[in-house]
Symmetry: C2
Subunit: 141 residues, 2 copies
């Protein structure tokens, strides 16, 4: 499936090998979920190593470790769509973190809707009973 189909289509093609790739990236990371502190929307799931967490605390911006580029990724550095940190939460077993954020730009997702506006978050499609995807909000198509 092409990149375009993967992100803008309605065909399901989940990459179950994702975490194997993540583990091979060279950095020790845990899942880092970013959630809009005002609306509750789950915006993005990324990965954080110790440096990303430190950088998040220093800059006040949600920061991940890009496991594909293998580099520090302060969300918004290229797009301007920073995610300002309200707080960082830690789960019971201390093996994942939750960034509670206020988006400073248009959206947290790198994809854009048909009007060219960045989507607020990455979870803009739901799984239908027939196994295909559908866009949750018609405006986000």
């Amino acid at each position: 499936m092409s990149h375009q189909e993967l992100e803008e289509g309605i065909g399901l093609d989940l990459d179950f090998t994702k975490l194997r790739k993540v583990a091979n990236c060279g950095a020790d990371v845990l899942p880092a979920v970013a959630q809009d502190a005002r609306t509750g929307e789950v915006l993005i799931v990324g990965y954080a190593n110790e440096l990303a967490l430190e950088t998040a605390r220093e800059t006040g911006m949600a920061t991940f470790w890009s496991t594909s580029r293998d580099e520090l990724w302060i969300k918004g550095t290229t797009s301007g769509d920073y995610l300002q940190l309200e707080e960082i939460r830690v789960n019971c077993e201390q093996n994942s973190i939750l960034y509670r954020v206020v988006p400073a730009g248009k959206g947290a997702c790198h994809t854009k809707n048909r009007e060219g506006v960045a989507r607020s978050g990455c979870y803009y499609r739901r799984l239908r009973d027939d196994g295909s995807l559908e866009f949750i909000d018609p405006e986000q198509v």
Copy 2:
């Protein structure tokens, strides 16, 4: 740090090796976030393989792959605290899923507050500026 301190204490001791362990569990999994569809609370981050996703769709209950026990894990099977699925969302790159759920029991977390009640979700502590943790809700201590 003991299990008790990890879950009930205020000392930070994040396990950054988590995803390396996950990748070694033998199953191909991706992150699966469960969110309360009514309150927006992020309840738990687990992992799902193809079987877990299929089972979730068939049973209507949030289902994970337990990467520590290496077995299918329909959340609530032992505790009764099932997470009834409202919908399953998929992210832009199709490498993570979001379970939008309505908790059928008391809580989604396996930990309990001092009154012996399961906590609603796993993210009951926030990171303080001094690097220690604090409980977000005094009632959840």
